[in-house]
């Protein structure tokens, strides 16, 4: 376990934007190092505020620390982001049970069961609630993640169609709603079409360069430090802007069917690919 923590810490240090914080915080939590787990979870949430699993993880750590009010808020948020998140449903059930609201506890467990009918822990928890006993303290949906990590499993679920080669192809010019540009707004790779099918890559790139400079200026003048990302919901789509390097900017655009949290995961992967692509140039 100590080796796990060391290895995961090293991985996270190497790529702070990665989702490995989910595994690291969970490992720390299981070791009882709750303050450290809390720090890791919070840092992860800061970078991935729309990731339901991050809110779920943070809520579990808060629950272990008996901060039930904040845990409730976090699970509630996880459900707003991902209404079928069984971890959050089970967590809320646990908290409802704690305050004696057995009906709500059971309702949330039933909802979880509808999502994962084959999960025996949910059935067991329902039986316990009906019998008046407290359901077990919430654990991750996959309590003992095998070699494949909880984080990678989450990402796989959240972005089932994401294939790295396709993203990379996007950087090379395919129509992937993904544009890489330099600080002056010149396109380095990728392309973007508007809903009508017209190529809008250059126009968006030109405007986006201004956004990047303004974002850096805003963060600096407000004393917020370096900016790490800009997410926006539009009427017909969502965008995420990140900086794979000091002089480059990556824009990922998807329709509104792709929520901001999922978009952030996609953007994170694309940023990593763009970084490698830039290094290779």
């Amino acid at each position: 376990m100590a080796d796990d923590v060391r290895a995961l810490s090293a991985q996270l240090a190497q790529d702070p934007q990665s989702l490995v914080f989910l595994r690291l915080a969970e490992a720390l939590r299981r070791k009882g190092q709750l303050d450290a787990a809390l720090r890791v979870a919070l840092n992860g949430l800061e970078r991935h505020p729309h990731l339901a699993d991050a809110h779920d993880l943070y809520a579990r750590v808060l629950t272990d620390k008996h901060d039930y009010e904040r845990a409730f808020d976090e699970w509630d948020m996880a459900l707003r982001i991902a209404p079928n998140h069984t971890g959050a449903l089970k967590g809320l059930a646990f908290l409802y049970f704690k305050v004696g609201d057995l009906q709500q506890a059971e309702t949330h467990l039933e909802l979880a069961k509808r999502v994962e009918p084959d999960d025996p822990t949910i059935t067991q928890a329902i039986d316990m609630v009906r019998g008046g006993a407290s359901p077990p303290s919430p654990e991750p949906s996959h309590a003992e993640p095998p070699a494949e990590t909880a984080a990678s499993a989450t990402a796989a679920v959240a972005t089932p169609v994401l294939d790295e080669s396709r993203v990379f192809a996007g950087l090379e010019g395919a129509q992937e709603g993904l544009v890489l540009l330099d600080a002056a707004g010149r396109v380095l790779g990728g392309a973007l079409r508007n809903p009508a099918g017209a190529d809008v890559t250059d126009a968006v790139a030109a405007y986006l360069a201004g956004v990047s400079q303004e974002a850096a200026r805003t963060a600096k003048l407000l004393g917020l430090g370096a900016w790490s990302g800009l997410s926006a919901e539009g009427k017909h789509g969502n965008v995420h802007v990140s900086q794979p390097s000091k002089d480059a900017l990556l824009l990922v655009v998807r329709d509104r069917g792709v929520p901001l949290g999922r978009l952030a995961i996609l953007a994170q992967r694309a940023t990593g690919m763009a970084r490698r692509w830039l290094d290779a140039q």
Partner: protein
Amino acid sequence: MNHTLDLITRVRGVRGAMLVSADDGLIVAEQLMEGIKGSTVAALAASLAGRLRRAMEAAGIGASVFWHLQADKGTLLVVPAASGMLVVAVAEPDVNIGLVRLELLRAGETVV
């Protein structure tokens, strides 16, 4: 208007909230913690909102409904209201973004 901002600043981790005129970046109302320069926040938020709006419109995805700038030491969250106002919040990096977003959207609906 103060009640509207109150609901935003009540969220844990929010350092301040304000209503800003999107056109000129001037403050209409504010509730800020000490140390936050309201006029700077307003001007920068309006400027960034304008650039972002142009980029998003160029991309064909319409004007932004909500956006947030993530930074090492904090975050700036903005909802452009239909009235031409921006509802702006400055918050700690560990703030519950989803909750602030909801309050900003609610505030945006009440601002006329």
